[in-house]
């Protein structure tokens, strides 16, 4: 439908007073200039997308997302940047426009950036609340480690329907998972861990192994789970993947041994033990490099090919081994957030996975 959509163009950025009326008027002026008498320019917002920038590259990351997200989720993007030396709250705006397929209509989304000193956090939050477009959902993206618990963040979370955070940015997965659970409970919102979103493809492929007629029987005879992550320490993704398998299969963990670069445990399904091994290796920096499951009668492997980025999938069924190669979807912020906003997050599955991962970490002893 939109195969020849033009790239999003960022039209202009300039300071404006921190006043919703003035900002609205300024956007209208930009659109009129963009249209240049062409009545086919339309302004579209189906989402408030608020980003809270807590790290140095927040603005660049927000802009890279806004260069892609509005095409799929036309939105009012609001970036909030508290900084120690920023002084009173100031605002600037930019418009994002693109042409629909076939050189059709000009569609515009909008971006507001708010900056203010760290002593201006209440003022920043109040400006965000005033700028939210009514009657459409509010998604909040926390850019930075998920540990901020100021009144400013709480005020914005209170206005949100969904909050995206990334446990992979935390120095402690245990702390990040705890923060996510706490935020979901306190603000009655859906919290989405971007690390969990990055797992969707892996989860789909693992689930697909057992879609065969005799798949469930084989799943019940699971004997071992091995997850290899890139880098020097276990990734959030590998812990969440293990938590997901544990919670979905109703396993309980015992004999957990945990070090920053590995976790070993014995899982029980009530009858048989299942060994769990999470390790990391130097082969790459992808959050997950390889997943291997072994059952009593078969073995299953998903391997990330370091050069092509494709996933090699092998199901070693004794009657008919199957090998295939599939594409791994892009994992940049824009792609993951766009995809996550598309789906109705099943928070029950995520919550259970996160709690199981927390259970692993909480029950661990040093090896």
């Amino acid at each position: 439908m939109a195969s020849d959509v033009s790239p999003i163009e960022r039209l202009e950025e300039h300071p404006v007073p921190v006043d919703p009326g003035a900002i609205e008027a300024e956007f209208t002026r930009i659109w009129q200039e963009t249209a240049g008498g062409d009545e086919s320019t339309i302004r579209l917002r189906v989402l408030n997308f608020v980003a809270i920038g807590l790290v140095g590259d927040a603005q660049a990351r927000f802009e890279s997302v806004m260069a892609a997200l509005p095409e799929r989720h036309p939105c009012r993007g609001i970036l909030v940047l508290p900084a120690p030396d920023a002084g009173p709250v100031s605002a600037s705006i930019a418009a994002h426009c693109w042409r629909t397929a076939g050189g059709g209509r000009h569609v515009c989304s909008e971006e507001v950036s708010l900056r203010g000193g760290t002593d201006q956090q209440r003022a920043l939050a109040s400006a965000v609340l005033a700028l939210l477009v009514p009657e459409i959902p509010v998604a909040v993206w926390l850019i930075g480690p998920p540990d901020a618990d100021t009144s400013f963040v709480r005020d914005i979370f209170d206005a949100a329907d969904r909050v995206f955070l990334d446990s992979a940015l935390s120095g402690s997965a245990e702390q990040a998972f705890g923060y996510a659970l706490e935020a979901a409970g306190r603000h009655d919102i859906v919290v989405c861990d971007i690390a969990w979103c990055r797992l969707t493809t892996w989860r789909s492929l693992v689930a697909q192994f057992f879609d065969r007629d005799d798949g469930l029987r084989e799943l019940a005879r699971l004997r071992s789970i091995e997850v290899l992550s890139g880098g020097r320490s276990l990734s959030s993704e590998s812990l969440l993947l293990a938590g997901w398998l544990i919670s979905r299969l109703g396993l309980s963990a015992a004999d957990v041994a945990f070090a920053p670069d590995r976790l070993h445990a014995t899982l029980y399904d009530g009858v048989n033990p299942v060994t769990l091994a999470l390790t990391c290796g130097p082969e790459g920096d992808a959050p997950i490099q390889r997943v291997r499951l072994v059952t009593a009668g078969a073995a299953f492997l998903i391997d990330l090919h370091s050069e092509s980025g494709h996933l090699h999938v092998r199901a070693e069924w004794p009657d008919a081994p199957v090998h295939r190669t599939v594409e791994r979807p892009p994992l940049d912020d824009a792609a993951v957030l766009t995809d996550a906003l598309d789906s109705d997050q099943d928070s029950a599955v995520f919550d259970a996975a996160m709690k199981a991962a927390l259970g692993l970490l909480g029950g661990a002893v040093s090896p």
């Binding site: 989860r203 697909q208 798949g215 109703g250 599939v326 029950a348």
Partner: protein, 510 residues
Amino acid sequence: MTANPLAANPLRAGLRLPRTPDSCAVVIFGATGDLTSRKLIPALYNLLRGRLLPSGFSVVGFARRAWSDDQFRAAMKEAVSTYSREPLQQEVWDSFARNLHYVSSDFSEATGYERLAERLAKQDATHGAGGNRLFYLSTPPNAYAGIAHHLGEAGLSRGNDGGWARLVVEKPFGRDLESARALDQALGVVFRERQIFRIDHYLGKETVQNIMVFRFANGIFEPIWNRRYVENVQVSVAETVGVENRGGYYEEAGALRDMVQNHLLQVMALVAMEPVASFRADAVRDEKAKVFQAIRPFKDIARETVRGQYIAGAILGQQVPGYRQEEGVAPVSSTETFAALRLEVENWRWADVPFYLRVGKRLPKRATEVAITFKRAPLPLFRESGADNVTPNLLVLRIQPDEGISLRFGAKVPGTRSDVRPVNMDFRYGTSFGVDAPEAYERLLLDAMLGDSTLFTRWDGVELAWNLLTPVLDAWQQGARPLEFYEAGSWGPLGAVELIERDGREWHRM
């Protein structure tokens, strides 16, 4: 095989796709044809790219041409490079191509089916296809019955070792009621109804599926979706193209068989049907069948139908020949390239609301739309300011191109007077969802592999449609409604205008 083992896969919870299809082999009859290259293989490739195909998956092409597996693969690679909506990626292609095979045989040659059976049995062992087969008839319709017969003879109408076998049949399903019944009987000797998937690619289009979502996922429309508020409904399919290189086929078909009997009546049924209690395949198809049953048979075919044929004219600034000058068309052909009908659905919801259907080739623009005109407000409050002639509300469901929905309503023109002007509220897929929709064939092939027949037509629906239209074909054959000519680039013959103006209405301007 258990009834639905996948429903219980605990790892599927929360994932977008409830399941992937069972491992299976897709056998394409007519594998060297246009449909295979343009639609089927690119659709399967894109399903693989999207990780929607099962792990034990293979394709067997079956056609007369003496190709090897490698030649078939090379041709299909070219097809994917040319026609796939997503670019070909070598590594993914290699994985796909390993599972492509070819059997060379005439459709009427019994030994060809024996070789096919051997090949499939071998693939069950090597590819883990699980004994499941999806046979896709991408052949001329006159080959359907013979292929089904040979499949039965070769023991292929049932899956291997407890697996399933399904048959996908392309349109046209018969050329009138009698031939459709004969075909149904021929297929029915070998396959059961639940194994037969009659494909109507219109039903795989996102915007056609959105008709159901629009009606049944929104609370505000269903209360006004009836005779009390709706004045008339128009379903229009306008094409700028002529018959291209399909003159031979089109001579035998014509607009009524090619488009109305299937696409237009299916779309009309989605607009007119009662809400379903569930989206189970039979629940949806039951409701569509009730619509077909409620359509009043034609009383006066000469007044309620129009048939036209284009003559030379200009389209998009180009001179184009008339239908009779097209390749493969008889110089005295009386095949219609335009058809318009006035239908009535005689039930409590739609009594006295006319449904106008029109389809034509070489019309000024390409568009498929459903236009629902609502009744005027009961009291013309703004008469004194000369605004009593407020245009009625119009809801347009645009199926292609520029897919979307628009609602026309009256708004006050700014100023001291109470002038009312019609304005449009627009929703466009292209702007609200900037993403490539899957091709209709991707959705339909996936559904067929999953065994979900919701978007496929059931025999009773096909039979009822032919039952309605066969008298029209017969009457036209006997000259009850003379063929009218229209210039290419016009909106069809004058008779179409008269058909609707007779009711004091006009065609929605597309």
